[in-house]
C-alpha cells in the first residue's frame, strides 16, 4: 500500500510502475511521477468505510449484546494491525531483495485474504453468539460484513477502482443506516459521510487535472475548498427547504424488510411495516395501554357504543338545554377510537350541523378492527344510510316522503332477490350493475347501498318481510337492531345516463309538495325539539343569494347543479377540524370558507333549493379508492369513511347523488364517449399545456440536448466494445449533421460529407482524414478495432464538430 508505492518507486522503471500500480503518468512529462494524492484517496475511502460501519453499529446498538461489539472490533483491529505489520515487513524485504518486486501474485492473494477475513469476522462472531442462544438478526450481520468489506477494499484493494467501489459500498450502508436507525448518530454519520465524500470527489477531480494538464492549469488552492463549501451550502439549503416537507414517520412505512412482516397491501395480517409494528408491540408489552390488541378482545361486544360514528368523524352534535347527569370518561377511553363498532342511528332522527370541533385521534391503521364494511363495486361509490329532507337552518330532519313499498321477490340463479321499482325511470336508468357489500361491524338495521339501488339479496333469506323500505327511501331489515357481522349482501343498482340528465330542462317532483322545498315552513314535521322559532339564518340567506347569482342565466337544472357543485368545490376548503360554531354554522362556514363535508352538503342543498331544485342530505359511507385492495378486489370502508353528501331529485322517486365536497370523487355516471373525452380534455388541459410547453422548450433547445446525448453516448460507449464505440462515433457525427440541418445524403461517404462541410478548416480536415483512415482500415481493411477506443483525435473531433461549428463552416 502506501509505503510500498513510495519505496518501490525508487527502484522501478516508469513502465513497471504503471503496470504494477496502475498509476497514470502523463506522457508529456517524462520525469518519474508518483501520484502524491494516492495516499489521500485511500485514506479518505477508509475513513468513509469506517463511518459506514459506525452507522451500522448505530442501528444495531440497542438490540445486540455489547460484548459482541467489543469482540468484533477487537478481532478487526487485530487483523488490521497484523496485516499492516506484515505488509510493512514485506515492503522492507522487497526493497532489500530486488527480485521480489516482480512477483505480484502473493501480494494480491494476501490482500484478498485480508479482505475475506474482514468479511468473515462478523459472521463467525454471530455464529458464536447464536450458539449461546441469543437471537440473531442476520441482515445486520451481512450489512456489517459489507461495511468491513468496504474498509478492506479501501485499505487493501490492489486496483484503482477498488477504492471507488469501497466508497459506493460505504455510501449505501450510511444511507441505509440513516433511514432505519433510531439513533440520531446514524444521521450525523450520514451527513459527515456526505461531506467527506464531497471532498473526496472534488479532490479526485483536481488530482486528475493536475496529472493531465499540469502546465495548462492555474492552481487555485482556494477553488477546491470553495467548491467544497459551495457543495455543503447547497446541501444545507436543500435540507432546509425539504425540512418539514418530508415526514420522518412515513419512512419505510411500506415495510420492505423481511422481518417487519411485509405490508398490508400484500398481506392483511401484516403489521404494516416497521413503523406501525412498534405501536402494536408496545401495546402488547404494556398492559395499561389502550392498544389495538386489547381493543379487539374487549370492545367487540354487543353492548351499545357510547359513540355515534358520525359524531366521531364530524364532531359531536351540540345539544342545547339538555343536561343529563353523566360521569366524565377518562382521557384514554375517549381519545382512542380503535376498534369501536360503527354505529349509525336508525332512521327518523335528526342530523344537526351545529357540531363541536371533531377531534382527530391519532391512531395506527394497524389491522382490520376499523373496517366497517367491505364493498365490492366501483371505488368512489357512496353507500347511503340515512336521508334528511327538512332543514331548519341548524338541523336536518327526516320527514317520511316515501310511501311504504312492497318488495318484489324473484328467484334468479338460485338466489332470492328483492326488487323495488319505485325509483326507476326508463329515461335515466339504462343498465344494471351487480355489487356487493359485506357488513363487518355496523350497528344499524339499514343496508348501506348506492342511491340507485334496485334490489338486494342475502343468501338463504327468501322472505320478503325481512326487507323493508324506510320512509326516507333506504332499505332496512325490520325487527333487527343490526345486520349480523360478516353478512354478505348483494345489490343490484342502476347506472345513470348523465346525458339524459342534461336533456331534462326542469326536474319534476311528481310526489312532492312544493311546500316541502320551502324548508322553513316544514320544520314542524320534525319529531324532536321542533323548531318553533323559524331560523332564517344569515348563512342560509347568503348561500341563497350566491345560488341565484350563479344560476342567473337560463341554465337547465342539471347544469345548475354542476355549477353549484363546482363553486363549492373550488371556493371552499374541506376541513373536518374546522369549527363552524353553534349559532349559525352555515354563516360561519361561509365566512371561514372551510368546513366538514356536512357543511358542504348542507350548503349545496340550500343553494339548490333556492333554485327550486329539490335535494336532500344523505349520510353514509364513501368507498375511498385509496383503500382498494387489488388482491381481494374489494374496498375496505373504515369508520372515518363516514361521509355526508346530498341527493338531487330529478324525476319521480329518482334521486341522484351529488358530491360538493372537494377531495371526494364525483359520482360516476354513464356518459357518452364524446362527453367523457371532452371532460378528460378539459381536465387535462393544463397538463397538456405543460407538456406542450415542455416539448416546445425541448424542441428549441434540441441542439444542446442532442450534443449532450452524443457526448454521453460516446463516453458510455467507452465501457462497451471498441466496435460499438466506433459505431457510436460515426452515428453521433451523422446525428450532429442532421441537427445542423446538413443531413448526409445516403450515397455520400461520411468522410466526404464532413470534408465537404468543413474542408476549409485545415486542422479539422486533417483530423477527419486521420480518423476516417483508421475507421476505414478497421471496418473495410479488417484491422483490429482496439485502436479506435483510445483515439485522441476521435475524442477531439466529436467535441470540435459541434452543431454550431458545422453550421458556421457551412456558411
Amino acid at each position: 500500500m502506501i509505503y510500498e508505492v513510495r519505496g518501490v518507486s525508487r527502484n522501478l522503471s516508469k513502465d513497471e510502475l504503471v503496470r504494477t500500480h496502475s498509476i497514470r503518468i502523463n506522457t508529456s512529462h517524462r520525469s518519474p511521477f508518483v501520484n502524491p494524492w494516492r495516499q489521500r484517496k485511500r485514506r479518505e475511502a477508509c475513513l468513509l468505510g469506517m463511518l459506514a460501519v459506525v452507522g451500522i453499529y448505530a442501528v444495531r446498538i440497542g438490540y445486540e449484546p455489547i460484548l459482541q461489539f467489543v469482540a468484533e472490533l477487537g478481532a478487526v483491529l487485530l487483523l488490521l494491525s497484523g496485516s499492516i505489520a506484515f505488509f510493512w515487513k514485506q515492503n522492507r524485504k522487497a526493497l532489500a531483495d530486488a527480485r521480489y518486486r516482480n512477483n505480484e501474485s502473493p501480494k494480491i492473494a494476501g490482500r484478498l485474504g485480508i479482505i475475506l477475513g474482514l468479511v468473515c469476522i462478523p459472521i463467525l462472531l454471530r455464529l458464536a453468539v447464536a450458539f449461546t442462544g441469543s437471537a440473531a438478526a442476520w441482515e445486520m450481520v451481512w450489512l456489517t460484513s459489507f461495511g468491513f468489506a468496504a474498509m478492506g477494499l479501501a485499505l487493501f484493494g490492489w486496483r484503482e477502482r477498488d477504492v471507488g467501489l469501497s466508497v459506493i459500498c460505504s455510501g449505501f450502508l450510511v444511507l441505509f443506516a440513516a433511514a432505519s436507525a433510531d439513533e440520531i448518530a446514524a444521521v450525523w454519520c450520514a451527513i459527515l459521510w456526505a461531506m467527506i465524500c464531497l471532498w473526496w470527489l472534488v479532490a479526485n477531480h483536481w488530482e486528475r487535472l493536475d496529472q493531465c494538464m499540469s502546465h495548462s492549469v492555474r492552481r487555485l488552492p482556494m477553488l477546491r475548498l470553495g467548491s467544497m463549501l459551495l457543495g455543503v451550502t447547497l446541501a444545507l439549503l436543500t435540507a432546509l427547504i425539504a425540512w418539514g416537507q418530508v415526514g420522518g414517520s412515513a419512512r419505510l412505512s411500506w415495510g420492505f424488510m423481511p422481518t417487519s412482516g411485509g405490508n398490508d397491501y400484500g398481506d392483511e395480517a401484516a403489521r404494516s411495516g416497521v413503523g406501525n409494528g412498534d405501536a402494536i408491540v408496545a401495546a402488547e408489552q404494556h398492559a395499561a395501554t389502550f392498544g389495538a390488541v386489547d381493543s379487539n378482545v374487549f370492545l367487540d361486544s354487543d353492548q351499545p357504543s357510547l359513540f355515534d360514528m358520525f359524531d366521531d368523524t364530524l364532531g359531536e352534535p351540540f345539544r342545547p338545554k339538555q343536561s343529563e347527569r353523566a360521569v366524565a370518561l377518562k382521557q384514554q377511553e375517549t381519545s382512542d377510537l380503535e376498534g369501536r363498532p360503527g354505529e349509525s342511528g336508525s332512521g327518523g332522527q335528526s342530523f344537526p350541523i351545529a357540531r363541536r370541533k371533531a377531534e382527530q385521534p391519532s391512531k395506527a391503521k394497524s389491522d382490520n378492527s376499523d373496517v366497517v364494511l367491505r364493498w365490492i363495486g366501483p371505488t368512489g361509490s357512496r353507500l347511503a344510510m340515512e336521508r334528511f329532507n327538512v332543514f331548519d337552518g341548524v338541523k336536518w330532519y327526516a320527514s317520511g316522503t316515501v310511501a311504504p313499498q312492497q318488495l318484489e321477490h324473484q328467484k334468479l340463479n338460485d338466489r332470492d332477490w328483492f326488487f323495488f321499482s319505485g325509483s326507476f325511470d326508463s329515461a335515466i336508468h339504462r343498465k344494471t350493475y351487480q355489487q356487493a357489500v359485506k357488513v363487518m361491524r355496523l350497528k344499524s338495521p339499514r343496508i348501506p347501498a348506492p342511491s340507485q339501488v334496485a334490489g338486494v339479496s342475502i343468501k338463504d333469506v327468501d322472505r320478503s318481510d325481512f326487507f323493508s323500505i324506510s320512509s326516507d327511501g333506504s332499505i332496512f331489515m325490520p325487527g333487527r337492531t343490526s345486520i349480523p357481522a360478516q353478512t354478505n349482501i348483494r345489490i343490484v343498482s342502476w347506472g345513470v345516463d348523465e346525458a339524459s340528465l342534461f336533456q331534462i330542462d326542469r326536474f319534476s317532483y311528481s310526489r312532492l309538495e312544493r311546500g316541502d322545498i320551502q324548508f322553513r315552513e316544514s320544520g314542524d314535521a320534525a319529531e324532536d325539539a321542533g323548531p318553533s322559532v323559524q331560523r332564517i339564518s344569515a348563512g342560509v340567506k347568503e348561500f341563497e343569494r350566491i345560488s341565484r347569482e350563479l344560476a342567473s342565466g337560463e341554465l337547465s337544472d342539471w347544469k345548475a347543479v354542476n355549477k353549484i357543485v363546482a363553486y363549492l368545490r373550488s371556493e371552499f376548503e374541506f376541513d373536518r377540524a374546522a369549527d363552524c360554531g353553534l349559532e349559525d354554522p352555515l354563516n360561519e362556514f361561509y365566512q371561514q370558507r372551510r368546513g366538514g363535508d356536512h357543511m358542504f352538503a348542507t350548503a349545496a342543498c340550500v343553494m339548490l333549493r333556492a333554485l327550486g331544485i329539490h335535494s336532500r342530505l344523505t349520510t353514509g359511507f364513501y368507498a375511498d379508492p385509496d383503500n382498494f385492495k387489488f388482491a381481494d378486489g374489494e374496498t375496505s370502508i373504515f369508520r372515518d369513511d363516514a361521509h355526508v353528501w346530498l341527493e338531487v331529485n330529478v324525476a319521480g322517486d329518482v334521486w341522484i347523488p351529488v358530491e360538493p365536497t372537494p377531495g371526494y370523487e364525483h359520482p360516476k355516471f354513464n356518459s357518452s364517449l364524446l362527453r367523457l373525452a371532452s371532460q378528460v380534455c378539459w381536465a387535462s388541459l393544463p397538463y397538456l399545456g405543460a407538456v406542450a410547453c415542455l416539448l416546445i422548450a425541448v424542441w428549441f433547445s434540441r441542439i444542446i440536448w442532442g450534443e449532450l446525448v452524443c457526448l454521453l453516448a460516446w463516453y458510455l460507449a467507452a465501457l462497451c466494445s471498441p466496435r460499438l464505440r466506433l459505431r457510436v462515433w460515426t452515428k453521433s457525427i451523422d446525428f450532429k449533421c442532421r441537427l445542423a440541418r446538413l443531413p448526409r445524403p445516403m450515397g455520400v461517404p461520411q468522410r466526404r460529407w464532413i470534408k465537404n462541410i468543413c474542408g476549409a478548416d485545415k486542422d479539422i480536415s486533417d483530423k477527419v482524414d486521420a480518423c476516417f483512415d483508421q475507421l476505414d482500415a478497421i471496418v473495410f481493411g479488417g484491422r483490429p478495432s482496439n485502436g479506435f477506443s483510445d483515439n485522441k483525435i476521435a475524442d477531439e473531433l466529436i467535441r470540435q464538430l459541434n452543431v454550431r461549428f458545422l453550421v458556421k463552416c457551412h456558411q
Binding site: 445516403m746 450515397g747 455520400v748 461517404p749 475507421l775 473495410f780 479488417g782
Partner: protein, 326 residues
C-alpha cells in the same frame, strides 16, 4: 486454410521502395501534364489495374506527352499509331514476310508488341482495324497465321478520340468501348499551369514536343507487374462488394439509362477501385475508392437517354446508400 495459405503466398512482397517508385512515377506524370494531378492519378490507376485508357480530347492537350512520359518512365518501348482510314490490321498486329535469303517466313511484329501503345484518333480508322486492336487489348495476345503470340504482361493502350470534326469517322461500337477501363477528358490546363508551361518552355530547345523528359526509368516493368499483381490481391470487404453490386444494378435500373454496366464492366470497376486503393497505399478498398473511380469507369460503358451522363451517374451515386461503419 490451404486456400488461404496459397493466397498468402501468391501475394507479392511489396516493399516500401515499390511504393516509393509509384510515388515517383506519379510525380513524373504530374510534371509531364502540368496541373492535371487528378487525371494522371487515374491514368496510373488504369495502368495498375491492367486496363486500357480512352482519351476523349482535342489535339494538343498533352496526350502524346503523357504516353511518352509513361513509356519512358517504365523503361518500356513506346509505339504510336496514327489511325487513318487506310490503316490495316496488319499495321497494328504485325505480319509475316517471306525472306528470300533464308527461305523462311519471318514475323515482323507490329506496335501491339510494344509496352505502351498510343493509338491516336482511333475513330478515324476502319472498324476492321479497330477491332483488331481491341481484340489484342482484350485477349492480350494476337493470332497471326494461326499462331498465338502473347503480348507484353504490362501492355497498356492509350487510345484517343477527337470529339469534334467527326466527318468520315467510325465511332467505336459499345461492345468495343467496354474493353477500355476508363474514358478521360484531359481538358485544357488552368491559367497557372499554362503560365508554368510557358516558363518552362523558354529554357527548352524543342518547342513543339513539350518538356524534355529525363530518360530515366522510374519504375521497371517487373516492379509494375508486381504492383499489378498486388492490386489484383487487394482486399475488398463484403459490404463494399455489395455496394458495388448495388451500384451496378442501379445503373441498369435507372430510368434514363439505355445500357447499364455489364458484368465485365463491374469486374473492371472493382479492379480499378483496388488499383486506386493501392495507389493511395492501402491494402483494402473503401467505398470512397469505388466512388472515386466510378464516374470514369461508368462514362465509357453507359448509354444515357437524353440527359447528361455525369448527371445520371451523380444521381445513381446519391441514391445507393454507402456501407455504414459497423
Amino acid at each position: 486454410m490451404v486456400a488461404v495459405d496459397e493466397l498468402e503466398r501468391k501475394i507479392p512482397v511489396i516493399d516500401a521502395s515499390d511504393f516509393d517508385r509509384l510515388r515517383r512515377l506519379s510525380g513524373v506524370l504530374r510534371s509531364a501534364l502540368l496541373g492535371k494531378a487528378d487525371k494522371t492519378d487515374l491514368v496510373l490507376t488504369c495502368l495498375l489495374a491492367q486496363g486500357h485508357l480512352l482519351l476523349d480530347d482535342l489535339p494538343g492537350t498533352g496526350k502524346t506527352t503523357l504516353a511518352k512520359a509513361l513509356a519512358s518512365s517504365l523503361g518500356g518501348r513506346f509505339a504510336r499509331i496514327q489511325c487513318t482510314p487506310d490503316l490495316l490490321p496488319t499495321d497494328i498486329t504485325g505480319f509475316t514476310l517471306y525472306n528470300q535469303k533464308t527461305h523462311e517466313f519471318e514475323f515482323h511484329s507490329g506496335p501491339v508488341f510494344f509496352d505502351v501503345l498510343l493509338a491516336d484518333e482511333l475513330n478515324r480508322t476502319t472498324p476492321r482495324t479497330q477491332s483488331a486492336l481491341l481484340e489484342a487489348m482484350a485477349e492480350r495476345q494476337v493470332t497471326i497465321d494461326s499462331e498465338a503470340r502473347p503480348l507484353a504482361d504490362t501492355f497498356f493502350v492509350i487510345a484517343t478520340q477527337n470529339p469534334i470534326d467527326s466527318h468520315g469517322s467510325y465511332p467505336l461500337p459499345e461492345a468495343q468501348l467496354d474493353r477500355f477501363s476508363i474514358r478521360l477528358e484531359i481538358g485544357y490546363p488552368d491559367r497557372e499551369a499554362q503560365l508554368a508551361m510557358l516558363e518552362r518552355a523558354v529554357s527548352e530547345t524543342e518547342v513543339e514536343g513539350g518538356p524534355q523528359l529525363k530518360e530515366q526509368v522510374v519504375m521497371p516493368l517487373d516492379v509494375l507487374h508486381r504492383l499489378q499483381t498486388k492490386v489484383a490481391m487487394t482486399k475488398v470487404h463484403p459490404s463494399v462488394r455489395e455496394y458495388l453490386v448495388d451500384l451496378v444494378e442501379a445503373t441498369r435500373q435507372h430510368g434514363s439509362v439505355e445500357l447499364g454496366v455489364s458484368p465485365r464492366g463491374m469486374l473492371i470497376w472493382q479492379r480499378m477501385a483496388q488499383a486506386w486503393a493501392v495507389l493511395h497505399e492501402r491494402d483494402f478498398v473503401s467505398p470512397t475508392d469505388v466512388q472515386d473511380v466510378g464516374s470514369h469507369v461508368l462514362s465509357v460503358r453507359m448509354i444515357v437517354r437524353g440527359g447528361r451522363l455525369d448527371k445520371v451517374v451523380q444521381e445513381i451515386f446519391e441514391q445507393v446508400p454507402v456501407p455504414e461503419y459497423r
